[in-house]
Each structure stands twice: as C-alpha cells, then as structure tokens.
Symmetry: C2
Subunit: 110 residues, 2 copies
Amino acid sequence: MEKNLKINPACDERCPVRASLSLLSGKWTLMILFQINENTVRYGELKRAVTGISEKMLIQELNMLVENKLVSKKAYHEIPPKVEYRLTELGLKTLPIVDQLAQFGLENLV
Amino acid sequence: MEKNLKINPACDERCPVRASLSLLSGKWTLMILFQINENTVRYGELKRAVTGISEKMLIQELNMLVENKLVSKKAYHEIPPKVEYRLTELGLKTLPIVDQLAQFGLENLV
DNA sequence: AATAATTATAACCTTTTGGTAAGTACTATA
DNA sequence: TATAGTACTTACCAAAAGGTTATAATTATT
C-alpha cells in the first residue's frame, strides 16, 4: 500500500490548473474580473477601481478577456464615448476562483 | 436607487485579491501547490510531476513558498540526498483556490 | 575508475510583461 | 478659443520572469 492515498496526475498540458492559469494568470486579470464581478462597469470606472493599472494594460486585458469570451463589451455610439463591460456566462464561472482568492487574502494576509 | 446593488471596494493595496496574487501569481506557484496537495512529496517527484519546469524555477519557487510559510521542508541527511515538501496549515488553505482553478479548467477548457 | 542518483547553486542570456508618455477623435462647456 | 471628458492607440523603454548550461557533493553500483 502506498503512502499517498490521493495521487494527483502529473501537471502536463492537460492539467486543468495549468489550462486555467494560461487564461487567468497575469498581474491584473483576476483583479479586473473581481472588479467587474456581477456588475456592468464602464471603462473609466474600472480604471479608477483597479488602482495603479495603466490604460495600456487595462484595455489590453479587456480585449484579451473579450476575445476569450470571459467579458462582453457594449459600446454606445455617443460623444463622449461610453463603453460597458460585463462578465459573460463563462466569465461568471471564474468568480468562485476570485472569491477564494479574496477569502484567502482576507483571512491570512490583509 | 443605484443599478449596482453589490458595490466592490476599489482594488488598492488592501484588496485581498491583490494580496493573494502577490503571493501566488507566477507561472508555476499554484501548480506546485496543486501537486503537493495533501501529500508529502520529494523534490524529484515534483520535478517529474510538474512537466516542463526547470530545476532553477522549481527550487526558486519552493524556497519562496517555504519562506512564506506555505510549504515546509524536511531534509534527511542521507546520501543521496532526500528532501520532502508538504503544505503547512497555511498552505493547505490555498487548496480551495487551486480546486476552483482545477474545476474551472475541467469544466470549460480541457 | 567511471557512472548514476539526488538535491541543489550560479552565471548568463532571452523572452515576456508591464510602464511611460504622447497622441487621436469628437463634442460640450467655459 | 481653450479646456475637459471619454475611450482608446502607438512607440519606445525598463523590469521582471523564466530558461539553459555547467557545476557541486557524496555514496553505491558497475
């Protein structure tokens, strides 16, 4: 009988943790998802909410998230511009991850 | 009445998500925690399990994790060397995060 | 003697990531 | 006429992260 009753499969290309991280790693990604959360948020609101992020990174990340179907974008064709972001069905499914990150931070770090 | 019933505080230095990420972001960190999981794992086992990681990154991450008290290290003074790693109490508390990452990957990506 | 096994360490280099600063477009307002 | 507000874009640069290769130490095995 082995010591390790619960044996993890190796962490290769098919590893689900690796797959998730390839999408969600990055300095700002999960913080942006956390801020959008279940709300409808404008670009400018996000910029203020995610303290310290540069405009370049913010739209770069938003574009990436839209491309990967985690976030949907709605542009009103007005002047001045108005663009709203929200989580898609798929994006909402990342919230449990974000919640666990928040809980861990709250209970052990902050 | 506002549209957003659930208002998130801004994501500044005190943001718990940010705090967690400052510890756990990085290409390999969460995968290593995932592999160690509830087991006692030797360095060489980890190297094989976390496919593609370089030795440099593996010990660098392990040292970081030990320093931050997420992982404990037990060295047997034998030849050839034998070193075992396991999660501390604090480290075990990251497993819900890892589990959510795994679940998201499993259900939506892999 | 030489090789294998194990857990590292160090020097060097490349790639990735992120930051800075400036500019665009259009209108309302002062 | 100048400024402010909004959502971007681009070019350039700096820093962080990660990869490669070589090396160490010690013993058992071949």
